[in-house]
């Protein structure tokens, strides 16, 4: 028997902060129905640059995130805060992006902070031993 059940995939809505964006990089996923698009937005707050990641970070979407973080680091951004509150999924490929960005940032004398990962994402940092390597707030 197959009980009727909805997939219940989450979706997000544009919020007021859209008005203060300095850059938006997005890449549609392959799902025709939408709702799981991957989206990166960058906001320069003066003393820090906040990168907001929404959607799913995997082998298809990680390159865009890596490129954006490296671009910020390479232009001399000393403090990057990555807001993960809207990140619905991350696997080891996504972890690798953050490890690479952390190393690159520190080599340039900068810092990278991860903020507000959902519990499932936080658990993946924990089980891979990366929680202690990162500054994870929230």
């Amino acid at each position: 028997m197959e009980p009727a059940r909805s997939c219940g995939s989450s979706s997000f809505t544009p919020e007021s902060w859209l008005g203060s964006l300095t850059a938006v990089v997005s890449r549609s996923s392959d799902t025709p129905a939408g709702g799981d698009d991957f989206r990166i937005s960058v906001r320069d707050d003066g003393d820090a640059v906040t990168v907001t990641v929404e959607g799913e970070v995997d082998v298809a979407t990680a390159p865009a995130l890596r490129d954006e973080l490296y671009r910020l680091i390479d232009r001399g951004t000393k403090r990057i805060v990555v807001d993960l509150a809207g990140m619905d999924f991350i696997d080891s490929t996504g972890l690798g992006v953050f490890v690479g960005a952390l190393k690159r940032s520190r080599e340039g004398g900068g810092e990278l902070e991860l903020r507000s990962p959902k519990p499932a994402a936080r658990k993946i940092f924990d089980i891979t031993g990366l929680s202690s390597a990162f500054n994870i707030a929230g």
């Binding site: 059940r5 996923s29 999924f89 080891s92 972890l95 490890v99 390597a133």
Partner: protein, 150 residues
């Protein structure tokens, strides 16, 4: 396990032709990066049809994503994903056409890769791999319910 198929149809989400019996389904994904996402959606749809708890679905999606990503990266071939739901466990098999080595690496926080199988090893009840003549099969099993509570 080869059960007679009850139906076969095209997968509108991007996978190849698939077959499904009650509690077992498989399909083939092309050797492209978005197949990891397609495979997650394929597995999620099956598990939801079968009434799996959401927490368990999330875990299966993560581990499936790791294995499909490994197949894409290392074999570069199309990948078959099979999922079976029994009374007490879920088993996922990911088959590719590569002869690649399946290697669990030690923890190293400085590496940017190599964590996929660490995650599988940490979260699966059992996992393993074998060659099936045409390529490599990597599989994992999760016992339900209560796996996330460990």
């Amino acid at each position: 396990m080869n059960l007679p198929t009850s139906r076969a149809r095209s997968d509108p989400s991007g996978g190849g032709p698939r077959s499904e019996t009650n509690g077992e389904i498989s399909t083939v994904f092309p050797a492209v990066a978005p197949s990891a996402s397609s495979a997650r959606r394929f597995v999620a749809a099956a598990l939801h049809r079968w009434g799996c708890p959401d927490a368990l679905v999330d875990l299966v999606l993560l581990l499936t994503s790791e294995l499909v990503t490994n197949a894409y990266r290392h074999a570069g071939s199309e990948t078959r994903v099979s999922i079976r739901c029994d009374e007490d466990r879920i088993r996922v098999e990911v088959s590719d056409k590569g002869g690649g080595e399946v290697q669990l690496r030690p923890f190293d926080e400085n590496r940017t890769d190599g964590r996929g199988l660490q995650i599988v090893d940490a979260l699966a009840e059992r996992w393993g791999h074998h060659s099936d003549g045409a390529g490599t099969v990597v599989w994992f099993e999760l016992v339900h319910p209560g796996v996330m509570a460990r």
